[in-house]
């Protein structure tokens, strides 16, 4: 017997996460229109037109969502973005490591951040064997250095490794 109201909720689709992008779009459109409010009409026309279309579309989307909620077909849970739950922490960790990778690059330099990022993210994703955890980051770091820094002369942030190897290349 299924008397539990919570159980019934699980059969309904969680549409909370579906609202993130429309709200972002509507919010950015409002900010955009705010930034052009004192411009000549020609400079306002394009942005205002797109913004109005966005608000109309988002309005229609909100009405559709409200109707689905009223008909008990959906809930406001953000299941779409959090599932699969088992990998949620890994995903948050991976995004955080990516941000850390970019944030640390000006200090550690490109090559060292590649090695650190690869080793830490592979460990986070479940690689526990020492050989790939050491070998892949070092090979990727070396290939990245030779290809991007030496061969293509991309002006990536320099760190201890780049300064150390600069006299050689």
């Amino acid at each position: 017997m299924d008397d539990n109201p919570e159980h019934g909720r699980h059969h309904r689709k969680g549409v909370g996460a579906d609202l993130i992008l429309p709200l972002m779009a509507a919010g950015y459109a409002a900010y955009y229109v705010f930034t052009i409010r004192e411009f000549p009409w020609e400079a306002q026309m394009n942005g205002t037109f797109i913004a109005v279309v966005i608000w109309l579309l988002v309005g229609a989307f909100l009405v559709r969502t409200l109707l689905r909620l009223r008909r008990n077909e959906a809930t406001l849970r953000a299941t779409g973005i959090t599932t699969p739950r088992a990998k949620l922490l890994q995903r948050i960790g991976f995004v955080a490591l990516t941000a850390l990778n970019i944030g640390l690059m000006p200090w550690l330099g490109f090559t060292l951040t590649v090695v650190v990022f690869l080793a830490s993210s592979m460990w986070l994703l479940g690689v526990r064997t020492a050989k790939p955890l050491i070998l892949i980051p070092f090979v990727a770091g070396a290939v990245g250095y030779v290809f991007f820094v030496v061969a293509l002369d991309t002006r990536l942030p320099k760190g201890p490794v780049e300064w150390l190897l600069q006299p050689l290349f």
């Binding site: 052009i36 890994q90 995903r91 993210s121 994703l125 690689v127 990727a140 991309t154």
Partner: protein
Amino acid sequence: MEISFDSLWQLFAHSLDLWWVIIPAVVLGIVMGAIPGFAAHNTIIILLPFTLAVNVEVGLTFMIALYAASHLGGGIPAILVNIPGTGGAAATTLDGHPMAQQGRAQQALMLCFFASVFGGLITSTATLFAMPYLARVGFYMHSVEMVVVMLFGLTLIAVIAAQDTLKGLIAGFFGLILGAMGADHIYSAQRGTFGFLELYDGVPLIPALIGLFALSEAFVMIEQETILSRVGQERMQKSTWKDTIDSFFLAAKHWWEVIWTSMVGLVIGVTPGAGASIAAFVAYQQSRVFSKTPEKYGTGHPAGVIAPEAANNGVTSGTLVPLLALGIPGGSTAAVMLIVLQYHGVPLGPRLFIESPELAYGVFMSMVVAYIFMIFTILPMSRYMSRVTLVPTRFLAPLITTFVIVGAFAPREYLFDMWLALAFGLIGYIARKTGYHVAAILIGVILGPLVEQSYLRALRIGGGDPLVLFSSTIGNILWALLAISIALPYLNAWRKRRGNTRPREA
């Protein structure tokens, strides 16, 4: 120089002699094309010391072969890992990656290579003969006509949105307003930049592409052990050389699709300012409109890989037409070539055809030869390349993230662009997880500034009268074609419904 069989044969034999330049350029072009952020023009700029040092013929052949190969290379990661190497390959992800997920990566790669190589071969040969006529296309494409061409691209948003129109349109218009960020085209006033100086020139396309496709894909990818379904894994592990040959014949069956979509690419390529991304999306949309099975697009349909790939390689010869015939570069790579040609003192425009016709026509013959070399170098590789899909995501996702972040940095060399790519990565992740298509956002970002520019220019010319958009004959023909493109799917669906109900009525 008269275009005769003898003169063409001589040009062909001469281009073949340059194999030692073409082969390394093809290999380099494919590698660079496959790395997001490293476009052909960047590579040519890096290699300017070489192209300026050698004689003009060798330098030009090298640039042409590299350019053509980079357009092919962009499709490889688009199919295997859902990350387009170039903007022109973004439309390839729509059907190419679903094929890879089903364990048909080898087939998808073969379709991509076949369409790219033969599409490029057909258009470069066609350009050899039709050069004087094609050169005039650029004269007729003004701001009004450009608005309609871009609206063709925009209608793809509706195509992508077929499953949930409202979500697709929200994603597309969100992309459009993000693309309209930065300096206004007439008054240079700043709009929607959050005060970031780095956004004053608008949203840079490469970090947006990398974020929306590559980073978001890496974030989604880690939810599974591999990017293949269970059936896909089994199918992939059993793939043989016979599959390569079968895939070749499957691709050859779509010969007509290759011809007409590559011609779409050629015509769009001739128009300065339009590029491979627009050509690929327009060709995909047109292919779907005229298909008997439009419902299969987006699910791993062979024609959905062929159309954008043939078109983005058709663009390669198209962009060179205004460069050689008029001295106007049709795109960024053509602009770099212009610098090299000017350095060597080569006259451009009609004088080129009078003073150095062998160079003018030799450019396209070099392209033909480069594509012929690609048949032998790249087609057999599809079997080995497709094995990438078997690599576990715990290795693949970190490696992709590491190198695409560099790709976001490379074009402008701003650390800010890495952060921007991450921001777009998060938008792309949310979009993927909640059923909004990242391609719809990207089409908006690409077309946002272009539509605005052409639209405002047209209005200025027309003294603010919106009817100026219907003032040219070519523009009106394009409007009619656009209306047909929009109406045709509905007409087909209506005819199908009628066909289904008739037997029951009988």
